[in-house]
Symmetry: C2
DNA sequence: TCTTCTCTGTGACGGAGCGTCATCTTCGAC
DNA sequence: GTCGAAGATGACGCTCCGTCACAGAGAAGA
């Protein structure tokens, strides 16, 4: 996507380029830490930039606002998750249940990882930006799920269901059950995943029984 | 729920009490209008209060912040919806599918009503406060659904499913499908409700087919 | 190497919105 | 009619924001 290195230095560029990259990342890291410590609402641009040693002006060279930094963080998450999702699609080889199970399991593992990576000082809701952040990458995830569903379903004899509603419902189940999973100890990604998958595949009558 | 009128004035109280009530309501109405016009983020406390003719100080006698006003608005919505939900539970007389169908239908009608009541000047996302507002009344709605599900399910021979996950999943489906329904024209509450109900009752294989 | 040009970093500054508080007004009790 | 309390008022100080004139460091050319 950019210039190709043509000397021994692999992915360098000039010193300018390097510090730019480094600063961008530094700000992102600082922001993640500050959001975790102070909570998103309380945190200010100054809090973030102080941690990097840069100046206020420098911050605005990279991001337009606190919101944009958070978006960058989310976008980053979604961007890292997308290939995982794609791998599940490829591995499922056209079988819907395999895809859904793989996708949801992967998602829950991802969720737990991220959750722990944020060095949890503050409760989840405070860390979150209170916005229904809808970054391009997140919309891409939704689209990817919808497409996968549509592709797989089309292969089946089964005539079409409303792919948009279905995708929305699947994502909704996965997200919400995942959210509740994170609140429980011990963390049980498998149990939660199985619940979600069964709910999608067979609805209530199919759900795993307790006791 | 409060004092009984013991004179000819039905629900008055002194003039003090009356203006207090009136002001509270005025602020709420103004806020709804301002959020619709300017969007939640852009709107300021001053924008809201200007519309009422009151002073800044007066605002802070009633609410602590813009956020609290929005919470009051949401809370109000949830409070009005609760009895509707309860009525569906009573009418279902212990039958789960009847309850779910009634609840979701009622919810979608409610959704569309509210949606139209907000005199839509701005897109939905901008009107919304970007917070994952979780008011007491909203938590109460969740609890009510969870309880209803637990009560009804317990009657069935069927052994227990995870009521918390199930409630979360049902609400998630209803909410998300509802959200997509609102984006489509013409508005089809019945179709969306049927989709959600079938998804919950029988999962994907049970979903209504298109064409 | 030295010069020049350009790009990035700096932080003081003006502005916006916030929430408070000393003060005034109005209500209602006696 | 008097007086105490509840409530309204809006100027004030504060915090955070985003900008911009300036400075310093890297690249490019001689």
């Amino acid at each position: 996507m950019s210039e190709v290195a043509y000397l021994s230095v692999p992915a360098a560029g000039g010193k300018r380029e390097q510090t730019k990259l480094a600063n961008r990342q530094m700000i992102l890291d600082a922001a993640r830490a500050v959001f975790a410590e102070l909570g998103y609402e309380t945190a200010t641009v100054r809090d973030i930039i102080r941690r990097t040693g840069l100046s206020v002006g420098a911050f605005y060279n990279y991001y337009r606002s606190k919101e944009e930094v958070y978006e960058a963080l989310s976008d980053d998450g979604a961007r890292r998750f997308r290939p995982i999702l794609q791998a599940q699609y490829d591995a499922a080889d056209g079988d819907f249940e395999t895809y859904i199970r793989g996708a949801i399991r992967a998602y829950y593992v991802f969720l737990v990882d991220e959750h722990e990576a944020w060095q949890t000082t503050r409760p989840v809701e405070e860390r979150q930006p209170h916005m229904q952040v809808e970054t391009p990458e997140m919309r891409a995830v939704f689209e990817q799920v919808r497409n996968s569903i549509e592709l797989i379903r089309r292969k089946d004899q089964q005539s079409h269901v409303d792919a948009e509603y279905l995708a929305a419902a699947c994502i909704a189940i996965a997200r919400e059950v995942g959210h509740h999973m994170l609140m429980r100890r011990p963390l049980d990604t498998e149990g939660a995943a199985e619940f979600a998958v069964q709910m999608i595949m067979g609805g209530l009558p199919a759900l795993p029984r307790i006791g």
